[in-house]
């Protein structure tokens, strides 16, 4: 493995000995990871396992305590500004402005990504059509059902056509049908050539990923294609696998803080 050449390789995310401490607590502990371009990579783990901390480092919101990571070939320690132009980030809270219209939210995020007025209009038209938001364009965001807020958050994160999309628990609190529909959108995005890096605690969703990693206490305890992982550990479902490796089930893991 020649990490020094990772920028020229086919890897979207690489982490080498990536560590982040908060005081005495090590949230991410010597993380090693490689995600190829075009993958839908499932980043699993109970709450508090360090998933969000790792994503926040990849997105340039947190600096690593030690180690390094490369996002789209760029080292996060030096090029976080360049990285920000290439990635889209959707947080678990669907961070949107409730008092703005749907269109205005998308407009704003297009604006902070430095898009021109024309580009913004074009992207809004394209994406709203694809995500089924066109009719609600002039609705106040606070009046949207959660499933639509989630789509709007995705649209906002993709205004600038990122090559790499970080989704942190994008389907939290949404009903099963909306979740299924959202995953269809994730597939479409990946087919368009973007890499999707997604965390979830719904194990049925883990089955949809091309590869997954399972994190526990800041470390990765399993990494691979879902079917292979299940075979290797002799479990029927991802849920069972998760239980076996982490000791709590995915969904009840939510309360582990």
């Amino acid at each position: 493995m020649t990490l020094n050449h990772s920028h020229s390789s086919n890897l979207a995310v690489v982490a080498k000995d990536l560590t982040r401490c908060f005081g005495n607590f090590t949230a991410v502990d010597n993380l090693q990871l490689e995600v190829s371009r075009g993958e839908i990579f499932g980043f699993l783990g109970a709450n508090g396992a360090g998933k969000t901390t790792a994503i926040r480092m990849f997105c340039g919101l947190l600096k690593p305590t030690s180690g390094e990571a490369w996002v789209d070939g760029l080292p996060i320690s030096r090029d976080s500004e360049k990285i920000k132009r290439r990635i889209g980030y959707m947080s678990q809270r669907f961070s949107l402005y409730d008092d703005l219209l749907i269109e205005e939210n998308a407009n704003f995020f297009g604006g902070v990504y430095g898009l021109s007025k024309k580009e913004i209009e074009l992207r809004i038209a394209e994406q709203f059509e694809r995500l089924g938001l066109t009719k609600q364009k002039r609705t106040l965001t606070s009046e949207l059902p959660l499933g639509f807020k989630q789509r709007l958050a995705l649209a906002c994160a993709m205004m600038h056509r990122p090559r790499l999309l970080f989704l942190d628990e994008p389907t939290g609190g949404v009903d099963p049908i909306a979740r299924r529909e959202f995953w269809d959108l994730i597939y479409e995005t990946a087919e368009d050539g973007a890499t999707v890096f997604v965390t979830t605690h719904y194990m049925d969703e883990a089955e949809y990923c091309s590869r997954v990693s399972i994190m526990k206490d800041g470390k990765i305890v399993a990494l691979g294609v879902p079917a292979e992982l299940k075979r290797k550990h002799g479990t029927q479902t991802m849920e069972d696998l998760f239980l076996k490796l982490v000791g709590v089930s995915g969904e009840s893991g939510e309360s582990v803080e």
Partner: protein, 368 residues
């Protein structure tokens, strides 16, 4: 630039979409100025004084008339005997009592030396001092009159002829209203920005914004721009009330005042940003913004108490308060017609630069 405008446009939408907050931001300063302006003005004009006249002669009545001829003193019902004085003070019926002893007119006629006792309610120190001044001034006036009658001269050997410049009638509003502009602006501006940032922190939108390539300085400038407009509207309204309701003169230039006021608004907004980097929630931000600006500005800026009479340490602290300099500028401009404030300008620009730099720096740091 595009990014700054995107932030500014979004912030403007927040403001316009919340008319109640906007109304508070505009009405609150007005109400404060009118209330404070009148409260301080009324207080000094209606000083109640009672007389205990034990002499009951034409001369003693003349003394009473002379004292109550002042606009600032309102006589209340005369007191029949000494035992009523204390209970009257306790019930707050008057601020002071003038006791004219028996034999006042006789002594006055024979020796030109006749003591009069003045009792003042000292519970409220500043009012007591004002009452004392007014009564002494009234008695000095009578002395001059008596002296001229007795010796046929108009003047005493030494007479202080005071002429007060810039606010000749010592109208308190002329002094207070400029101070209120300084106080109200810093409070409202710090409040607006600190809440605006704390709100985004609470909802997580700040983090979302910062995963984009927008720089912290761009976020801050974009956020501050619309609030400069609100601050300017507030300033214009307060100054209009000062000018037309309280008749505060404008001896300087409105243009110069506008320039300094905008500078002061920007510094105040920066102060709000700085506060927001410490505050985790909107409530904390609100309390910190109000306490952090109200008390220092009220007590240490020279608004109520002259900075020159403060102990050394407090005087040093007062030098770190933007209102200290803005107050000197606005009073100088409006009352004295002074137009050039080199020292204050340097001080304000320095303070503003430091406050904004620290705010931007801490804003970045807080992301970790």
């Amino acid at each position: 630039m595009r990014r700054i405008l995107a932030v500014a446009r979004k912030e403007t939408r927040h403001i316009l979409r919340d008319p109640r907050s906007l109304a508070v931001a505009i009405a609150m300063p007005l109400i404060m100025v009118v209330l404070y302006g009148y409260a301080i003005d009324m207080e000094l004009k209606r000083l109640t004084v009672a007389f205990l006249d034990l002499d009951r002669t034409p001369a003693s009545s003349e003394l009473q008339m002379e004292i109550t001829s002042s606009n600032f003193i309102t006589p209340v019902q005369a007191i029949p005997n000494r035992s009523e004085i204390e209970s009257g003070f306790r019930r707050g019926m008057f601020r002071a009592v003038v006791v004219i002893p028996e034999g006042y007119s006789e002594k006055l006629a024979t020796s030109l030396e006749s003591p009069v006792q003045i009792l003042i309610d000292g519970a409220d120190g500043s009012t007591a001092a004002v009452v004392d001044n007014y009564l002494n001034a009234a008695i000095a006036r009578i002395n001059r009159k008596l002296a001229s009658e007795a010796f046929g001269v108009e003047t005493l050997p030494i007479e202080a002829r005071t002429r007060i410049l810039f606010n000749p009638q010592l109208i308190s509003a002329h002094f207070v209203v400029p101070g209120l502009v300084a106080l109200v602006l810093v409070m409202i501006c710090a409040l607006l920005t600190s809440i605006a940032i704390a709100r985004e922190r609470e909802t997580g939108t700040l983090e979302q914004m910062l995963t984009s390539p927008v720089a912290p300085a761009q976020v801050i400038v974009g956020k501050v721009l619309p609030y400069i407009v609100i601050g300017a509207i507030d300033a214009a309204l307060i100054l209009a009330v000062g000018r037309f309701v309280f008749d505060v003169p404008m001896n300087g230039s409105w243009f110069v005042l506008a320039g300094y006021t905008i500078l002061y608004i920007i510094i105040s907004l920066g102060l709000g940003l700085l506060i927001s980097t410490f505050a985790k929630t909107q409530q904390v931000a609100m309390i910190a913004a109000l306490m952090g600006t109200l008390l220092p500005t009220l007590i240490l800026s020279g608004f109520l108490f002259a900075t020159s009479s403060m102990p050394f340490m407090l005087r040093q602290i007062s030098k770190l308060i933007p209102a200290t300099y803005y107050l000197r500028i606005i009073r100088g401009l409006m009352l004295k017609g002074q137009l050039w404030f080199p020292f204050e300008t340097v001080a304000l620009v320095t303070l503003g630069t430091v406050i904004l730099s620290v705010a931007i720096f801490r804003f970045k740091e807080r992301l970790d």
